[in-house]
C-alpha cells in the first residue's frame, strides 16, 4: 500500500449477496382459468375479443386494439397443437433472475401459434436440432405428469 501513489487507490466494490425481493403477483381470473385448465384438464384456452375477433393466448382482461374489457364468457378453447411462428436456440449462459443462478443452456425458445389462436405462447421446444426447429414446423404441447397450476405444467412443445 505504502509505495503506491495516493491516486493509485485500490478500488472496492460492494456485493448484494443473497438479497432478493419476493413477490406474490396476482395472476387474475383470466390467467388463473388458463392455468386451472392446464392443471386439471390438460387443455389450453384463449380469449376472443367480441370486437375485433382476435383470439389471445394467454387470456387477458383487456383487448388492446379495442380498449375493451374481456370477460370470462369470452374464453374459448384452442388446440394444443400449432406451428412455430419464430424460434431460436439459446446457447449463451445467463443468470435467471427468478433463481439467481445460471439457467441451463442450450435450449430452444419458440413462439408457438396454436391452432385457433392469433397470438403466440412463448415456450420451450423439445429439440435443439437446428434442422427440426424451424419457422412453420408443427408442434404439440407435452404436459407434465404432476401439474401445479403453472405455465410449466406444459413441459415443452414437441416438434412433430
Amino acid at each position: 500500500m505504502n509505495d503506491k501513489k495516493r491516486e493509485d487507490v485500490e478500488l472496492l466494490s460492494i456485493s448484494s449477496g443473497e438479497a432478493s425481493q419476493p413477490f406474490d403477483w396476482s395472476v387474475g381470473k383470466h390467467g388463473s382459468y388458463f392455468l386451472q385448465q392446464l392443471r386439471d384438464n390438460k387443455k389450453i384456452v384463449g380469449i376472443k375479443c367480441p370486437g375485433c375477433q382476435r383470439v389471445y393466448v394467454p387470456p387477458r382482461p383487456v383487448c388492446g386494439h379495442c380498449f375493451k374489457g374481456l370477460t370470462l364468457d369470452d374464453i374459448i378453447p384452442v388446440s394444443d397443437e400449432g406451428t412455430i411462428y419464430v424460434c431460436t436456440i439459446v446457447q449463451f449462459g445467463f443468470v435467471d433472475p427468478s433463481t439467481g443462478i445460471q439457467r441451463p443452456v442450450p435450449y430452444t425458445w419458440a413462439f408457438v401459434k396454436l391452432d385457433g389462436a392469433d397470438t403466440c405462447l412463448t415456450h420451450f421446444l423439445d429439440s435443439t436440432d437446428a434442422e427440426k426447429v424451424k419457422v412453420g414446423a408443427r408442434v404439440k404441447a407435452v404436459f407434465e405428469e404432476k401439474r401445479t397450476g403453472n405455465l410449466m405444467d406444459i413441459k415443452h412443445f414437441a416438434v412433430l
Binding site: 425481493q21 419476493p22 406474490d24 396476482s26 387474475g28 390467467g31 383487456v62 388492446g64 380498449f67
Partner: protein
C-alpha cells in the same frame, strides 16, 4: 401560459391485497376517468402511465400496462414517480402544442411485495442500504429531527392521525376509516420511535387516472373543466445526513412557484381546501410549513387549534389523506383527484362547502425529498 383543465377523474378503492392484476386496475381507473369525462378512448390524443419497477417487480412496469390504458397506436410516455409528476408531464405534452388531450394513469400494488425491502432499495447501496434502513426508519429519523427543530410533540402527530382517519370515514375509496383518539395513537404499537403504528400509512393497492385537456379539446368532453392554475415541482438533496431533514425547503420552493402562477398570496386564506401527501402523520405538519400555511416550526399550532379540521380555516385532507390509504405512486394523483372533486362540489360527504380553490400535493423519494404542488380552481 395557456391553461390546462382536468376534465375527467377516476380512482379505484384502495384496499390491501386486491386480487386484480395491474392491467385490471389500470383499466378500471382509466375507464372511470373516461366515463367521468363523458369521453371515449378515441378522444384521447396521448397517454402517460406511471408506476415503479421495484414495487411492481417488473422492469419497465409502466410500459406493461399501456394496453389497459388505451395506448394502442398512440403517442405515449411514462413517468416513474408519484402520479402528480406524471400528470405534470401529461400537461406539458399538451402545452407543447402536439396534443390537445392526455390520459394519465398510475397504479400500485404495494401488497405484492415487502415494503421494507422495496424501500430499502432506494437507499445508497454503498453506505446506507446494508444497515437495513427503509422508508419507515428514515421517516422516524426525520420525525425526530422535526420535533427537535419545532417543538412539535408526539401528541401533535397523533392529532393528525385522528383527524385524517376520522375524515376517511366520509370517503368510500379510503382504506382505513377509523374513529380513534390521541390516546389510541399514543398507545398503538411502537414501530420506529417516535412513530407508532397509527402514525404510519397502511400499504395499499389502487389505481387512479385523470384526463387533461386544453381549451380546444374541451368540446370533446361533457364535464365542466377544473383548471390547473399553478403547478411546480422541486427536489431536495438525497443523502440522509446531508439534507436538513427538519425543513422542507424543496416544498417551499415548489409551493412559491405554484402560488405565483395561481396568484395565491396568503395560502391559508386564499385556499379553500388542501390534500397533502401525509405518508406518516408528522409529515402533514412539516408540509403545513413548507406550503406556507404556518411559519417554520409552528405547524403544530394549526392542528392544536383544529384549523385544518373539516370546520377549520383550511380543511386539510377531507379524504382522510395518505395516512388512511397509501397506494404509493398513486396517492399523489388521488390528492389531485380529490382536489378536483372538491372544486366541482362532487366530494360527497367529504365536501368542503363552497370550495373554489384547492391545493393538491405529491411527494417522491425518502422523507419527502421531492414535491409536486398543484393549485386547481373553477
Amino acid at each position: 401560459m395557456s391553461k390546462i383543465a382536468i376534465v375527467g377523474v377516476g380512482q379505484t378503492t384502495c384496499t390491501r391485497s386486491k386480487i386484480d392484476t395491474f392491467e385490471e386496475m389500470v383499466f378500471e381507473a382509466a375507464s372511470k376517468a373516461l366515463a367521468d369525462a363523458g369521453a371515449e378512448i378515441g378522444d384521447i390524443d396521448n397517454v402517460v402511465t406511471v408506476s415503479n419497477d421495484f414495487w411492481d417487480g417488473r422492469t419497465i412496469s409502466s410500459m406493461a400496462v399501456q394496453e389497459a390504458a388505451g395506448s394502442w397506436g398512440k403517442d405515449v410516455s411514462t413517468v416513474e414517480g408519484d402520479g402528480t409528476f406524471g400528470a405534470l408531464y401529461g400537461m406539458m405534452r399538451i402545452l407543447s402544442g402536439s396534443f390537445d388531450t392526455t390520459l394519465v394513469v398510475s397504479h400500485m400494488k404495494g401488497s405484492e411485495s415487502i415494503m421494507n425491502l422495496i424501500t430499502n432499495a432506494m437507499f445508497d447501496p454503498i453506505y446506507q442500504r446494508g444497515m437495513g434502513i427503509d422508508a419507515t426508519s428514515a421517516a422516524a429519523l426525520q420525525a425526530r429531527s422535526y420535533m427537535t427543530m419545532s417543538g412539535a410533540t408526539e401528541e401533535d402527530f397523533a392529532r393528525v392521525s385522528v383527524k385524517n382517519h376520522g375524515n376517511a370515514k366520509n370517503n368510500p375509496y379510503a382504506q382505513l376509516p377509523m374513529k380513534i383518539t390521541v390516546g389510541d395513537v399514543m398507545a398503538s404499537r411502537k414501530i420506529a420511535e417516535p412513530l407508532k403504528l397509527l402514525d404510519c400509512s397502511p400499504i395499499g393497492d389502487g389505481a387512479a387516472a385523470v384526463v387533461l385537456s386544453n381549451k380546444k379539446g374541451l368540446k370533446r368532453f361533457r364535464k365542466e373543466p377544473v383548471w390547473i392554475k399553478g403547478v411546480a415541482h422541486c427536489s431536495d438533496s438525497f443523502t440522509l445526513g446531508y439534507r436538513d431533514l427538519a425543513k422542507s425547503r424543496a416544498l417551499k420552493e415548489a409551493a412559491q412557484k405554484a402560488y405565483k402562477m395561481a396568484g395565491i398570496k396568503k395560502p391559508l386564506k386564499d385556499l379553500d381546501v388542501a390534500e397533502l401527501y401525509d405518508a406518516y402523520s408528522y409529515m402533514e405538519l412539516m408540509w403545513y410549513e413548507g406550503l406556507g400555511f404556518a411559519p417554520e416550526g409552528k405547524g403544530y399550532e394549526l392542528i392544536r387549534e383544529n384549523a385544518t379540521g373539516m370546520k377549520g380555516e383550511l380543511p386539510v385532507n377531507p379524504s382522510g389523506g395518505v395516512v388512511s390509504s397509501h397506494p404509493v405512486f398513486v396517492a399523489g394523483m388521488v390528492r389531485l383527484i380529490e382536489a378536483t372533486l372538491q372544486v366541482r362540489g362532487e366530494a360527497g360527504k367529504r365536501q368542503v362547502k363552497g370550495a373554489k380553490t384547492a391545493l393538491a400535493h405529491g411527494i417522491n423519494g425518502p422523507c419527502g425529498q421531492a414535491h409536486c404542488v398543484y393549485v386547481v380552481g373553477a
